[in-house]
C-alpha cells in the first residue's frame, strides 16, 4: 500500500461525473428559461417592421425606436412642417422625425412604473411586517385557537384571488378605494399576508427560544429581544418571503386591470395598451417589459446572498 488512493470519494458528496451532468442540465434549463427573456430584449431593440417580419429576424440593425416610442407620445406631421423645425435635439427626436412624426410629450410609462414601485414595495413591506409579527406571535405565545386561525389564514389562499374580484370591485367602489394606490396596497397586502405568516412562522419556529430568553435575562424587554435577536436571525426568512410577496404584487395583472385605470394604474395593465401605427407597437411593448423586469432582478440579486446563506446556515447550525 504505497500509493494513496486519490480517487476515493465521500458518500455524501456527488462524484465529479454526477456534478458535471448536473451542471449541464442546469445550464440547459437556464438557457430554455432565458430564451423568452432574450427574445423580449431583442424585440425591444428592433424596428417595428423587423419585430413582426416573418420568418423572425435574428440579425438586424438595432435601434432605440422601441424605447423612444415607449417614453413619448407622438403626432404625425407633414414632411414640410418637419423640415421647417429647428435641428433635432436627441436620438429620439431624430428617430421620430425620420418616421414623419414629432414628439408631443412624455408617455404615461414612468408614472405607471412609479405606481408599480409604490404599490408592490408598499404592499410587500406591509405584508412582511404584519406577517413577521403574526408569525412571531403564533410561534411564541399560546394563542387561543391557534391551529384554527392558522388554517383560516391559509384558507384564504385556497381559491384564486380573482374569484372574489366582483365583491372587491363593488366594495372598493363604495369605499372610494378604486384606482387608488392605497387600495391596491391593501389588496396585495391582504393576499400576501397569509403566505408571509406561514413562511415566516416556519422560519421563526426554527429560531430557538433560548435566544430571546437569554436576551430577556440580559435585561431586555421582549420587544427589544425580538428586534435585536429574533429579527437579525430571521433575515433570511424575511428576505425569501419579501421576494415572493414582491413578485406577486409586481406581476399581478387581473386585479390591476379591474381596479385601476388612471392615476393608480400599474405597469402590467399599461404595457399591453401601448399602440403604435397600425396596431400594437411591439418594440415599445418589449421595451416596457424589459425595463419592468429590472427591479425584480435587482431586488433578487441584492437578497441572493441572504437566501443562499439561509440555505447553508440551516445546514450547519443544528
Amino acid at each position: 500500500m504505497s500509493s494513496v488512493n486519490t480517487s476515493a470519494h465521500s458518500v455524501v458528496e456527488p462524484t465529479p461525473t454526477v456534478k458535471r451532468i448536473a451542471g449541464v442540465i442546469v445550464i440547459l434549463y437556464a438557457l430554455v428559461t432565458m430564451i423568452p427573456l432574450a427574445w423580449i430584449f431583442l424585440t425591444s431593440i428592433k424596428s417595428p417592421p423587423d419585430s413582426i417580419s416573418y420568418p423572425p429576424k435574428i440579425v438586424f440593425t438595432p435601434t432605440l425606436e422601441g424605447y423612444c416610442n415607449l417614453f413619448t407620445t407622438r403626432t404625425r406631421q407633414t414632411p414640410d412642417y418637419i423640415q421647417s423645425l429647428p435641428p433635432a435635439t436627441g436620438t429620439c427626436d431624430e428617430i421620430t422625425r425620420s418616421r414623419n412624426m414629432v414628439i408631443a410629450g412624455p408617455s404615461n410609462y414612468w408614472p405607471r412604473f412609479g405606481n408599480s414601485l409604490i404599490i408592490a414595495f408598499g404592499s410587500t413591506f406591509l405584508a412582511v411586517s404584519l406577517g413577521t409579527l403574526a408569525a412571531y406571535g403564533f410561534s411564541r405565545f399560546r394563542v387561543p385557537l391557534a391551529d384554527d386561525l392558522l388554517f383560516f389564514i391559509l384558507s384564504t389562499r385556497m381559491m384564486p384571488p380573482i374569484a372574489v374580484a366582483i365583491p372587491i370591485y363593488l366594495m372598493y367602489r363604495q369605499f372610494g378605494l378604486s384606482d387608488t394606490a392605497l387600495g391596491m396596497i391593501l389588496l396585495y397586502t391582504a393576499v400576501n399576508v397569509s403566505l408571509a405568516v406561514w413562511l415566516l412562522k416556519g422560519f421563526i419556529d426554527e429560531i430557538p427560544r433560548e435566544y430571546e430568553e437569554a436576551a430577556m435575562i440580559d435585561g431586555y424587554t421582549r420587544l427589544h429581544a425580538f428586534w435585536k435577536v429574533v429579527l437579525p436571525q430571521a433575515t433570511t426568512g424575511i428576505a425569501a418571503t419579501a421576494i415572493f410577496c414582491l413578485i406577486f404584487a409586481w406581476n399581478e395583472y387581473a386585479f390591476a386591470v379591474l381596479l385601476t385605470s388612471g392615476s393608480a394604474q400599474t405597469a402590467p395593465p399599461f404595457i399591453p395598451t401601448i399602440i403604435g401605427e397600425g396596431g400594437q407597437d411591439w418594440p415599445a411593448v418589449a421595451a416596457g417589459t424589459t425595463i419592468f423586469l429590472v427591479p425584480i432582478l435587482v431586488f433578487t440579486i441584492i437578497l441572493r446572498k441572504q437566501l443562499l446563506r439561509g440555505i447553508t446556515f440551516g445546514a450547519v447550525r443544528k
Binding site: P208, E210, Y211, M216, I217, D218, G219, H224, V316
Partner: protein, 365 residues
C-alpha cells in the same frame, strides 16, 4: 451577590405537576447543584428562579426581596443555557457585551469590562471571532463571560457541560469551581451527573419527580441519604439494599438479617413490622471468611486500583468495592462484613430512611 430563597414553589403544566412544593435556600456565595434524572423538574425550577416561567404557587425571594412575579429582565440574574444560546449574528465581543448594552453602560466601559472578563476566562484572543466557528469549550467560556460580565446577583446554569465530551467536561468542572472560588457568586447549577454535582457543589438538592428528596452537603447526601431514591441515585455502583421483614424499636443496635445479627447505628424510632432494607455502600463492605453472612461470587469488575465484586447472598446480590489485590473464582463462597457505623435502614414502602444515630450525627454537626 445574594441569597436565593424558594418557598413552597410549585409548577403545574395542566394536570401534570412538574415541580412539587419545593423549599430551599441557597446562601450568599453558595454553589448549589440541582441533581436528578431527566424530566424531574430541574430545568423548570431553574426557569422559575430566572423568571422565564411563572410558578403555579409559592414564592421566590432574591436577596430578601420577593421577586416571584418580577420579569426576568428585572431580576438581575444570569443564566447559562444548555446550548449556550450565543447570539449567532454577533461576534464574541458583542455577545459578552450585550447584557451591558441594555443597562446603558458607556461604550468605553463596556469595552473595558468585556476585556477584563475575557482575560478572566482566558478567551481574550478570540474576542473578535464569530461565535459560529468556536469549539465547544470556547462557546462555553463565552456563555460564562456573558453571564459574569454584568456582576449579577446570582448565576443559574442549566447543564452547561452537557454537550461537551467527557474529557473536556472534567476540565470545565475544574474551571467552573475555580471561577466560583474567585468570584463567589451564588450559583444554582442543574445537572443529571452526580460526579459534576459532587465535585463542584457546596450543597446538593436531589430531585425526583418534581420533589426535592434531599437537600444537603455532598457528604450528607452521600453518607446519610434521606431516602432509598437518593441512596440509589448517588454513588457508583449505588448503595446495596438488603431487604428483610422486621419491626424495630427505639434503641435497637442490631438487626436480624436471615437469622444473622448485624450491628447497626442505634435506631431512634419505633417501627412496626414491615418490609425494611439495610443500605450498605459497596466501599463499606469487607470480605471476612469468619463472617456468618455468606454468599457466592457472582462476577467481578476490575477497575485498576480496586475492583467491584458482586456476591449473591440470601438477601440478593450485593456489590462490594474492595482492593484489587485478590482475585476470585466464580461461585467461590465468601464471608461479608459491614462497617456498622455507616449502615442505613429504610422503609421499603415509603423509601424513607429510618431515624438512627447515623442521622443524628448529621444534626449535631
Amino acid at each position: 451577590m445574594s441569597e436565593i430563597k424558594i418557598v413552597n414553589l410549585r409548577k403545574q403544566f395542566g394536570d401534570f405537576v412538574a415541580v412539587e412544593d419545593s423549599s430551599f435556600t441557597v446562601e450568599d456565595g453558595e454553589f448549589l447543584a440541582l441533581l436528578g434524572p431527566s424530566g424531574c423538574g430541574k430545568t423548570t425550577t431553574l426557569r422559575m428562579i430566572a423568571g422565564l416561567e411563572l410558578p403555579t404557587s409559592g414564592k421566590i425571594h432574591l436577596d430578601g426581596e420577593d421577586v416571584t412575579f418580577n420579569r426576568a429582565s428585572a431580576r438581575d440574574i444570569a443564566f447559562v443555557f444548555q446550548l449556550f444560546a450565543l447570539y449567532p449574528h454577533m461576534n464574541v465581543r458583542r455577545n459578552i457585551g450585550f447584557p451591558l448594552l441594555s443597562q446603558g453602560v458607556p461604550k468605553a466601559e463596556i469595552r473595558a469590562r468585556v476585556e477584563e472578563t475575557a482575560r478572566l476566562l482566558r478567551i481574550d484572543q478570540i474576542l473578535d471571532r464569530s461565535v459560529s466557528g468556536l469549539a465547544g469549550g470556547d462557546r462555553q467560556r463565552v456563555a460564562l463571560g456573558r453571564a459574569i460580565v454584568r456582576r449579577p446577583k446570582c448565576f443559574l446554569m442549566d447543564e452547561p457541560l452537557g454537550t461537551l465530551d467527557a474529557e473536556f467536561r472534567e476540565v470545565m468542572v475544574h474551571e467552573l469551581r475555580e471561577l466560583h472560588n474567585r468570584i463567589h457568586a451564588t450559583t444554582v447549577y442543574v445537572t443529571h451527573d452526580q460526579h459534576e454535582a459532587m465535585a463542584m457543589a457546596d450543597k446538593i438538592a436531589v430531585m425526583n419527580h418534581g420533589v426535592i428528596e434531599q437537600f444537603g452537603t455532598p457528604q450528607e447526601i452521600y453518607n446519610r441519604p434521606a431516602s432509598m431514591y437518593v441512596a440509589d441515585f448517588i454513588g457508583s455502583p449505588p448503595m446495596n439494599f438488603m431487604r428483610f421483614h422486621s419491626g424495630l424499636h427505639r434503641g435497637a443496635q442490631s438487626i436480624l438479617l436471615d437469622g444473622i445479627d448485624i450491628p447497626v447505628p442505634e435506631v431512634s424510632e419505633d417501627v412496626r413490622p414491615r418490609e425494611l432494607a439495610l443500605g450498605v455502600r459497596p466501599e463499606h463492605i469487607r470480605f471476612n471468611d469468619a463472617s456468618r453472612l455468606r454468599g457466592a461470587v457472582y462476577g467481578s469488575e476490575y477497575l485498576g486500583t480496586n475492583q467491584v465484586v458482586a456476591v449473591e447472598t440470601a438477601s440478593g446480590i450485593v456489590k462490594a468495592r474492595i482492593p484489587a489485590d485478590r482475585s476470585f473464582r466464580l461461585g467461590e463462597t465468601v464471608g461479608l462484613e459491614f462497617n456498622p457505623a455507616t449502615l442505613a435502614l429504610f422503609d421499603c414502602a415509603s423509601g424513607r430512611a429510618i431515624a438512627s444515630s447515623l442521622y443524628q450525627e448529621a444534626r449535631h454537626g
